[in-house]
């Protein structure tokens, strides 16, 4: 994604404006950039939860900073976006989306159904898992395709070593091998893809490689179908997300091979970063912030960041020692009343009644909860 054609821009502009809409009046435009590229910093993760940007997280990991600047400049010049002060006491600037900007978002939805394609996406939950699922699928298809034709020499499309090792390892398992010999992957792919339109099926299958074809890039598919590249990328994410959810929901009984492709094998808590996971382990053993700081030789700020991360992702954690229920309610009430999630403003309003950490914890837990509900039964 470098220089955009007018048609590509026509998709990207409303897509980005739609994300900015959620952040208007609260954060800088830059924060959306970090969401789009999938930065792992706590601030970015919190933004995603607070402002419900789950579909946007890691949507374009290779998005260049220069391009981003061009978008912002263009939006400002076109009068779709305005710079604005966040509040009286705060010097930091935020922005507003104008009526014309909202119309752009609306137009993108009408023209390209952007809202529809975005709705099932969730980069926080599925981001890397989606990529892994896709790479494993791609390499497994290529491998089977060649083995069936007794061709042992082929150049693996997926170069990532962990993925190669994974496929290799699974191919040697007797049960898996038995299934693959009996066209199980073919049957499962047929079943999982059959509910979709032909162009959706083709979007996925055209990209696969094997003895009979070398996969097409999304760019080539966009040339063939005449659709702008970003839209094709978005549709592919949509399709993969739907497939992954379907496989996970239906389970091993129905999709034994695809379920294996979708599984995450990891000893550590997949919801947390490695370091925060370690802090969580110590918290559960009953250690306090000070003790964790000493034991792990971490700064206070780092451990506090971990607590916020845990509050976001682990609803089972008993937060009360750090955030009594009444303080939490007070913070949430204040936040709602002021119509903001900005720490500084809330802190100024509550003064010594609570700490910054407590505000962050309250907002984090609330954000995590909201998301759990939103993701609810439909997944």
């Amino acid at each position: 994604m470098n220089q955009l054609t007018p048609r590509e821009f026509d998709v990207m502009a409303p897509l980005i404006l739609g994300g900015l809409l959620q952040l208007a009046g609260e954060r800088t435009p830059q924060s959306l950039y970090y969401v789009l590229v999938g930065r792992k910093a706590n601030q970015t993760i919190q933004d995603v939860h607070h402002y419900r940007l789950h579909p946007y997280y890691r949507l374009f990991p290779g998005f260049l900073k220069e391009r981003w600047q061009e978008f912002v400049t263009y939006f400002l010049q076109s009068g779709w976006m305005e710079r604005k002060k966040a509040g009286d006491k705060v010097r930091q600037l935020t922005f507003a989306i104008t009526e014309a900007g909202r119309q752009q978002v609306q137009r993108g939805n009408e023209r390209y159904r952007l809202d529809y394609w975005l709705s099932p996406l969730n980069g926080i939950v599925y981001g890397e898992r989606l990529e892994l699922f896709w790479m494993r699928l791609h390499l497994l298809v290529q491998t089977i395709s060649h083995l069936k034709r007794r061709q042992h020499a082929f150049y693996p499309v997926v170069q990532r070593k962990q993925v190669q090792a994974w496929v290799k390892q699974h191919l040697t398992r007797p049960l898996m091998r038995h299934r693959l010999e009996n066209d199980q992957l073919y049957n499962e792919l047929l079943e999982v893809l059959s509910p979709y339109d032909k162009d959706m099926q083709r979007l996925l299958v055209d990209q696969l490689s094997g003895a009979t074809q070398v996969g097409h890039t999304l760019e080539q598919i966009s040339v063939r179908s005449g659709e702008p590249l970003p839209l094709v990328q978005l549709k592919m994410k949509w399709l993969l997300t739907r497939l992954l959810c379907e496989v996970v929901e239906a389970g091993v009984q129905r999709y034994p091979v695809l379920s294996a492709l979708a599984a995450v094998e990891s000893a550590r808590d997949p919801r947390l970063s490695a370091s925060a996971g370690e802090t969580y382990r110590l918290l559960k053993k009953g250690l306090g912030i000070e003790e964790i700081m000493n034991r792990r030789r971490l700064k206070r700020g780092t451990v506090e960041d971990h607590l916020v991360e845990i509050a976001l992702h682990c609803p089972e954690w008993d937060i009360s020692p750090y955030l009594p229920e009444e303080v939490k309610q007070l913070i949430l009430h204040t936040s709602r009343k002021a119509g903001t999630k900005r720490l500084r403003i809330i802190k100024d309003m509550l003064g010594e009644q609570c700490s910054y950490l407590q505000i962050r914890l309250a907002l984090a837990q609330e954000g995590g909860m909201m998301h759990a509900e939103a993701a609810g039964p439909t997944g």
Partner: protein, 529 residues
């Protein structure tokens, strides 16, 4: 000797399936097996890898191959394994520490006979120790011109190689390069103790390639030239551009002109995408690749019919390497370059962007000496100095030479080092001087390239003369070059089959999937990746 000859011929047929050696190959191998240090000057596509791969089957201990090209080592190891060789491996910075440890154990245990290693890995004492313990039978150095500070591709890590050769017991050295001027050859021979008689030279002349330069006055004329050439040339080909942006622009230009069977290729693209494009090209599913110089290394496609240069390269060495990919099958091919003098601005800009001022050097030394942990990440250096990885490597190298730092080790996260005893002011001066010299050498390469473009004599002879070859009696198959006269239409006759795209109506999920996954034809047992 006779017995050895027979052995070599037999191995050639048995392991490689070739009936006979190509020029220079046998001579180099025989000299090596006699224990001599040799330098092979072999044209791109001249069969360099065979010269170490074959002896590695015969020699008792390890054959070590030093190469800076990670893609090449991955590619060759993958191919050799596909052919059934289990005794090959590679070590480079892309491996994590545990993988390296595991490999070193296996090396010491004698599991491998052919090992590829990237030059920076030879800085690690543990690696050198493992090699010494295993014993090295042959020390091959690919892209040997990288050792020359006057070369177009100087790599600081190469300067350590002579001492590594000694450290592993001074086995015979095989230095290989496709492109080296007389002075670079001299330097390689001096550093690796190679006798003049042990220099084996394949002529760089490629009789089946015709050279064409078209001088134009504007960017617009360049585009017209390119589209005209693409509309008339037959077979598959590559268009080289100097920047990623230009690649994308040219791809767009082609598509707008109705040339659909084209794809861009550059280092900024995703790994999977790059593999797909390369494979499509190899299997003739894709006819045209528009690329930066990131494309081509290790791409073994015999029937590339043309290479076009939308921008001229930064040196004649690079040019020869890029057009050398044409017609490895021996059939006629076309090298066309559209020359617009205004493009010099791109090269000047790139040179400027990578050059470091005295102030940069001083700031670098301050950061390095001022970092208490003696560990600096790429990101930190990048933010504080705004420099790229190549520049960091050069700076650390010269800083070590100037005694400012010692025991510099490159890890996955950045540089780890100790402080030296050098005096900062003197060191800064020395480093800045060295850097200026390297920059000057690059500038001269660029000027030589531009001189070649401007001169009016035979293009083929001028290339030969630049590389210090006999310029008389050079042969060619069909046409020589645009200065001697050539018929461009000759290269348009054979046309590659256009890839057909299925219409949506014809496309059927069951059919395509069934064909792809070879339904009900049984999975062969014992298959492996």
């Amino acid at each position: 000797m006779q017995k050895l000859r027979g052995q070599l011929d037999e191995a050639l047929v048995r392991y490689f399936g070739y009936p006979s050696f190509r020029p220079g190959q046998r001579e180099l191998i025989e000299k090596l097996l006699q224990g001599k240090n040799v330098l092979g000057l072999l044209a791109t596509g001249g069969g360099k890898s065979l010269i170490y791969q074959l002896p590695s089957l015969i020699l008792p201990f390890l054959t070590l191959v030093v190469t800076p090209l990670i893609s090449l080592m991955v590619d060759q190891v993958q191919k050799l394994r596909q052919q059934g060789r289990r005794d090959v491996a590679y070590v480079n910075s892309a491996l994590n520490p545990e993988e390296v440890q595991q490999l070193l154990r296996e090396i010491r245990s004698g599991r491998y006979k052919l090992l590829y290693v990237s030059p920076e890995k030879l800085k690690h004492p543990a690696v050198v120790a493992a090699l010494r313990q295993r014993r090295v039978s042959l020390f091959a150095i690919d892209e040997a011109h990288c050792i020359s500070q006057w070369g177009h591709d100087f790599r600081t890590d190469y300067l350590r190689l002579p001492s590594v050769v000694e450290a592993v017991g001074s086995p015979p050295v095989l230095a290989l390069t496709a492109t080296a001027t007389a002075e670079v050859v001299e330097e390689i021979c001096r550093l690796f103790h190679i006798h003049r008689d042990d220099l084996v030279k394949q002529s760089l002349n490629r009789p089946n390639i015709a050279y064409d330069i078209q001088k134009v006055d504007s960017e617009q004329e360049k585009r017209e030239w390119l589209l005209h050439a693409l509309a008339h040339l037959g077979g598959s080909g590559i268009v080289y551009c100097s920047t990623r942006e230009a690649v994308e622009q040219v791809v767009r230009l082609c598509r707008e002109a109705g040339i659909d069977n084209v794809h861009g290729y550059h280092g900024g693209m995703e790994a999977m995408e790059r593999v797909l494009i390369q494979e499509q090209f190899l299997r003739n599913q894709l006819r045209l690749i528009v690329a930066t110089n990131a494309f081509g290394m290790g791409v073994d496609k015999p029937d590339i019919r043309f290479v076009l240069h939308y921008h001229y390269p930064a040196s004649l060495e690079a040019y020869v390497q890029e057009v050398g990919r044409i017609g490895r099958d021996g059939l006629p091919g076309y090298a066309g370059l559209v020359y617009w003098p205004g493009d010099t601005a791109i090269h000047q800009g790139l040179l400027r962007a990578e050059s470091l001022s005295r102030a940069d050097v001083e700031k670098f030394l301050q950061v390095v000496t001022g970092t208490a942990s003696r560990t600096i990440s790429f990101a930190q250096l990048h933010t504080e100095l705004g420099i790229g990885e190549t520049q960091m490597r050069a700076l650390f190298f010269y800083a070590e030479q100037a005694g400012m730092v010692a025991d510099v080790v490159l890890t996955k996260d950045g540089y780890v080092y100790h402080l030296g005893t050098g005096e900062q002011h003197i060191a800064a001066h020395r480093i800045a001087e060295e850097l200026a010299r390297v920059r000057q050498a690059k500038l001269e390469k660029l000027q030589a390239m531009e001189h070649w473009l401007e001169q009016t004599g035979c293009l083929r002879r001028a290339i030969a003369a630049y590389f210090g070859e006999q310029a008389d009696g050079l042969t060619y198959d069909m046409y020589c070059c645009s200065h001697c006269g050539l018929d461009r239409s000759y290269y348009g006759r054979q046309t590659g089959a256009a890839a057909r795209t299925m219409s949506d109506k014809e496309w059927d999920l069951e059919q395509v999937l069934g064909r792809l996954l070879g339904r009900r034809s049984g999975l062969e047992s014992g298959g492996s990746l």
